[in-house]
């Protein structure tokens, strides 16, 4: 297309593009402006004010909410619980999901049964699962302690024991999500072209070397995706804690979002809770950037 003849044509297209674009984008832009951009700015503003929502006045308190938070033992405990939960879930679940995917991405007897069984918890709601597992964890009559009793092993109090409550929620979360990540790993494995493996077999590479030199580096984008999303979701865990323990016993399962929820909607400390939300935001942002960089490097290898 020569620029001379193109000009008039192009501007007519552009005029239509502009009006069509405006029409198509306006719902998205309005919603994003009202329900994302404004809330984010307002939340930042609130984090420097004290506000109980019941009263109209919200005095400016500077960094007071932040300094109060950083010197509150409860905040640090919530942060610690969240980190323990996240490390526990992501650290155990990711290798487990990868192992399952490796076993279930080839021809195997009972493949459909296995995949269905492992994936089933992932399609059930977290809240329903949490109710069922509360019953399984019941210290006197729950299924788990029934088993341990039959085997003559010590029976932990699970959700009523401050030592065991958080691990109990971690175990449940792994059970719930391992199938979901398995499916994503299977898709990642199937995307690796067979020619690489064929070439490696001709060179006489054994299974471990094939995994380490082909599967692992080529699977890195998938691994990165699983790690990033799992860390983000785990850091925001709330439902199971609300249903199973309400943050107890002795705050041993009070994770950061539950702490935030309590501060905002039980104690009505909107400013303070906003400051907690911003710290959560910052932590998630930093973790994402670190993981993104690290897994990107893996792809380039």
């Amino acid at each position: 297309m020569s620029p001379k003849t193109a000009f008039g044509f192009k501007s007519a297209i552009r005029r239509e593009d502009f009006w069509t674009g405006l029409l198509c984008l306006s719902p998205t832009l309005i919603i994003v402006a009202v329900f994302t951009l404004f809330p984010v700015l307002f939340s930042f503003y609130l984090s420097f004010h004290r506000w109980s929502i019941l009263k109209p006045e919200k005095p400016f308190v500077g960094l007071d909410n932040y300094t109060r938070m950083l010197s509150a033992a409860e905040f640090w405990q919530a942060l610690q619980n969240t980190v323990v939960y996240t490390v526990g879930v992501v650290g155990i679940e990711t290798p487990l999901a990868l192992l399952l995917a490796l076993a279930l991405s080839r021809k195997l007897r009972g493949l459909t049964f296995y995949r269905t069984a492992y994936f089933m918890p992932a399609v059930t709601s977290t809240i329903a699962i949490a109710v069922v597992w509360t019953w399984l964890y019941n210290p006197q009559y729950g299924l788990f302690n029934d088993f341990l009793r039959l085997l003559g092993l010590p029976e932990p109090g699970w959700l009523v024991d401050p030592v065991w409550a958080l691990p109990a929620i971690i175990i449940m979360s792994i059970w719930k999500n391992v199938g979901y990540h398995m499916v994503i790993f299977v898709a990642g494995l199937q995307a690796i072209p067979d020619v690489y493996y064929e070439a490696a077999s001709i060179d006489g590479a054994n299974a471990w070397r094939r995994f380490w030199h082909i599967t692992w580096p080529l699977l890195m984008p998938t691994t990165g995706f699983v790690l990033i999303t799992n860390v983000i979701f785990s850091f925001q865990v709330f439902g199971p804690v609300y249903v199973m323990t309400r943050g107890g016993p002795m705050r041993s399962t009070t994770v950061i979002v539950y702490y935030l929820y309590q501060r905002a909607f039980e104690f009505r400390e909107m400013g303070y809770a906003s400051a907690v939300a911003w710290v959560l935001f910052l932590i998630i942002l930093i973790l994402t950037v670190i993981q993104f960089r690290y897994t990107r490097k893996g792809v380039e290898l």
């Binding site: 019953w135 009793r149 609300y242």
Partner: protein, 278 residues
Amino acid sequence: MTVKKLTSWLAGLLLHLPLLGGAIFMLLPFLWMVSSSLKDNAQVFQFPPQWIPQTWVWENYKAAWESVPLGQYYWNSLVVAGLTTLGQLATATLAAYVFARLWFPGKDVIFLLILATMMIPEQVKMIPTFIMLKTFNWIDTYQGLIVPALVHPFGIFMLRQFFLGIPKELEDAARMDGCSRLGILFRIILPLSRAPISALAVFVFLFQWNSFLWPLIVLNTQEKYTLQIGLAMLRDELGTNWPVLMAATSLATIPLIVLFLAAQKQFIKGITLTGLKY
């Protein structure tokens, strides 16, 4: 030959044994849920535990259905998740089309800005949005749940990726015939995008169906509870009446599990399509 056979048999055993054990562990909670839901209060506390109840107490299901408006909860969840999904599909399709095909001033900047909002956790927006809904008088309403969730950057991003992959040549002929920009979206792009759109629909619907924190904050009256909120509240109300509680949980989960079993292939395709294209 026989040694070879033996080792391959052993290898198979080594693979199947942990896989089978794991699979049983995955199914156990579901089986226990159904088993407990059919027991009376004496059987449920029995030791050693029995998987198949001596007498099947179907009344638990009746009690569960009558103790709370479970049917209403189902309907509420269906309405909220369904409308949110439809809304998100509409906004995502239109916006993705603009970002993939049209000229628009500052297009790339706007796209990156919207994409960047994906990093913002729900909890940051939660408090201000709650205050905003209060001034709109939208607390304890469905629009309070639906409207703030009408746009999600993920859907826009995913559909844009797909639209970019559709060859432009397909549109040229229609363009020559005087088809408008919107006409191209509806007549050419959309018919080619059934797979990613239905994948996105499954993903959004599941996400909304399972959403908990936001409905917990917004809803106050029982008749408006979604299924998840209803279940969580039922857990508080029924306390240790495990048979009825398990019957209610069965009623809340089994239809979805059956649906999943029936449409497993599409389900998994949807998850992988949405999961990988981030």
